[in-house]
């Protein structure tokens, strides 16, 4: 048994090495599915913008299939045009933006379909390890039966996981702020 390597902070000086501007748009290969935009702001416990955060997203494709060998769903296909991974850095106002496609639903262990969601990892100075949250969509009927969302009893906390649609046009634009600490603190998961 080998013991795991501890995490350490990404620090303040990573942009020159980790910034990959193309990676915040997951749709550059024109994958099938509904194109959506997710924008938000990362805020600290004083509501100050976190201008040195790196966000990574990981999601299933429009059919609800992950581009990964261990996804056991045989009735869905990996689409070579969609990798499902993105990275964005926050700007001076703590803002970030991803362009992606709306993920599909996929099966949980008990045969229940999970509501569509995007997994998010947040790295920043002052975070000794990443924070993990999920972006769900406030206008998604399947949220009512999602086993993760329904386990969160506090409705204020649950709302922090719901991206709100900003517009009526196309592509759909959703807002998802990430509050690291304090009032309306985002729900973070221990994975």
């Amino acid at each position: 048994m080998h013991a795991g390597t501890p995490s350490q902070t990404i620090g303040p000086f990573f942009h020159f090495a980790l910034d990959q501007p193309d990676w915040s748009d997951l749709t550059t290969n024109a994958p099938p599915g509904e194109r959506i935009v997710i924008v938000g702001q990362v805020l600290d416990g004083d509501r100050a913008p976190v201008d040195d955060a790196l966000l990574e997203v990981w999601q299933a494709n429009a059919e609800g299939k992950y581009d990964h060998l261990e996804d056991p769903q045989t009735d869905k296909r990996v689409d070579p045009r969609f990798r499902g991974f993105g990275r964005a850095l926050t700007d001076a106002q703590g803002r970030y933006r991803f362009t992606t496609i709306r993920p599909g639903r996929f099966l949980g262990r008990n045969g229940a379909l999970l509501a569509p969601h995007i997994n998010v990892a947040i790295f920043a100075r002052g975070l000794l390890k990443q924070l993990v949250t999920r972006i769900y969509f406030a206008d998604e009927p399947a949220n009512k039966t999602d086993p993760v969302l329904t386990e969160i009893a506090d409705s204020t906390a649950r709302r922090t996981l719901l991206a709100l649609r900003h517009n009526a046009g196309s592509p759909a634009a959703y807002g998802f702020d990430i509050v690291l600490q304090g009032a309306n603190e985002t729900v973070f998961f221990d994975i």
């Binding site: 013991a3 995490s7 581009d67 990964h68 949980g108 002052g126 086993p147």
Partner: protein, 235 residues
Amino acid sequence: MTRQPLAYARPRPGAQPPYLHPDYCSTAKRAPAQALVPLQHTLSEVTGPSFSSGWAGPDIVDLTRPDKGEALGQRIIVVGRVLDEDGRPVRKTLVELWQCNAAGRYRHPTDQHDAPLDPNFTGIGRALTTDEGEYRFLTIKPGAYPWKNTHNAWRPSHIHYSIFGPAFATRLITQMYFPGDPLLADDPIFNSVPDTAARDRLIAHHDPNLSEAEYALGYRFDIVLRGRAATPLGP
């Protein structure tokens, strides 16, 4: 529907740093105040991006000659394996590396440390591990530098590492330190890891067998990612 993959094992107590570590002042306003919500692993956590096709860009394994000139400082060779907790090599996973130069300055617009930039050193490395989980970089030993955590605080020499592993749950960003560095004793980031043995796994080992005679000093730094749990996936 075929069989679901296994979940990933949880870290042992003390093996990972907490979010709030008061000695590291930047955690004060960024650590969540609420307890994290435990999440049984689903497909979302046990899958993750693959870079094995090379789409993250070509490997950059020699940081000492980014162009025509040669970087200043002490050349070092850093070799290691990326393994999981069961000792299996993590193949074709993306390792990203970044660091300051020999004078302790990052090529970063907001690094205001009054130390010279080296036009021949960017401090950026990138590689896919081999089928044995190995990586190898030729670089320059990074300098120590002051930071504003407390008066006259200095960070020990370190190299930043970003490693993906096979799953969203194995994602790791960490720092490699150098053996015998007197600054480690007072560094709040290094000392944020409660367990001494776990903390020491962040320190590379000097390995004479990796050194190249008359050229560069060798260090070994193995990285161990989370292994599998015996339990199946959650909801």
